[in-house]
Symmetry: C2
Subunit: 236 residues, 2 copies
Amino acid sequence: MPRRIDNNFNAEPTIKDISQIYDVLTDEEKEKVLNNHSVKHFKKNDVIYQEGEIPDSLLCLGSGKVKVYKVGFGGRDQIVRMANPTSFIGYRAFFAEGPHVASAVVIEPCTIFYIPKAIVYELLESNHQFSLNIIRSLAQELGFSRYRTVTLTQKHIRGRLAESLLVLKDIYGFEDDGITLNVYLSREDLANFSNMTTSNAIRTLSTFVNEKVITVDGRIIRILDQETLEKISKLG
Amino acid sequence: MPRRIDNNFNAEPTIKDISQIYDVLTDEEKEKVLNNHSVKHFKKNDVIYQEGEIPDSLLCLGSGKVKVYKVGFGGRDQIVRMANPTSFIGYRAFFAEGPHVASAVVIEPCTIFYIPKAIVYELLESNHQFSLNIIRSLAQELGFSRYRTVTLTQKHIRGRLAESLLVLKDIYGFEDDGITLNVYLSREDLANFSNMTTSNAIRTLSTFVNEKVITVDGRIIRILDQETLEKISKLG
DNA sequence: GACTCAATATGTTATAAAACATAAATCTAG
DNA sequence: CTAGATTTATGTTTTATAACATATTGAGTC
């Protein structure tokens, strides 16, 4: 029975929390952003955007968790990104000036800030540090994407699942106890993140439990032996 | 016996040909770039950069062809990009401000322009249109990378190889006859681009020949029936 | 609290593709 | 021109994992 854990439970986030954008702006630019953005709240399983849609705003995830996935061929989806606060959402399509080629769905209740396209492009023009932040983000994400292409195609099931658990740990971290993964995915999502069938995700998760590498309680996953998990991930 | 085909056989390229950068600069900036870049020539199989190296210049491919690949686990490499003129090389790591996570090797003799890091960052600061070009490039490449992640993990061998041939066609085009792929890869490179073993690339290529979809003469590949090839690619 | 639907679990079978094994052809160097 | 190395080709075996088939459990609903 997964409790809901929210990083921003006490404080409702504002756009000022989106440091990647807000920290580099001048006072004048900050004013502009404050006066020209909107806020939306989403609940679990809500669709934030869908493949094919044309983005007209830059989306910033203030709180919550989001999966971004592409629909595959045999009906199997591939989760290409798990987003955490505070980061941009769907910004690849926005900056490529094309349609979304993936869909974004809420994993945990979200607060999302919308900055209209015109404003974003004014900022890019007036503030090169903001541009640099975008450039760095995209470059890093491209590196991650290529890395995942190789691991998802070349590692075996155990390696893929172990890696996915470690990636989730890197993105969302642990709860206060230091071992419980701070994200609660269905076996299907876990499978779609790791390029395998749901059956195999369940099965492999069970073998990890038997090997005392993790414990599983519903969707709560605890990493007991991170070193071994890293070894499994490395071996492929 | 593949003849060497060079897009820029007659005219040795200059940095002025790198439209993505040169076209958007002011006269002053152009002067700066002209006075602060170097040119290097590479021959087939030369290593342009290697995984782990820290980039200190922005590289622009003036002429030639380059493969960018990551070393996999079971010794099998994955080609993550085939670069054509005139585009940036290794710019992901450059802009991520980290080490290269892939290696670049020459497929066909190259002319490469080097613009020092300091100059590039001056340009990013003074010319937001240049920044926008970089942003758009990275965003588009990230889209492509995610697309390939899904197809390389989900499509079957025939679909993967068919897609790779079509991607190569999109990148390098045909020769004057309109059917001969303007790039000459070993079966191993073709396999590493398509996430399969060399044996299976050879085998599958043969079945395509038997099905009269392509012809193969050494490394020369002619696409006889593009429609069918697209169908094979789509079916997975 | 029984009922329904979705999620999880696990065993069995089928199959795509890797791994392995040679052989033939082509290229390279002395 | 010959010898060795590399690339291409093709057949056979093995294996990882998808596909299929049922249970079982759990969550939400009337």
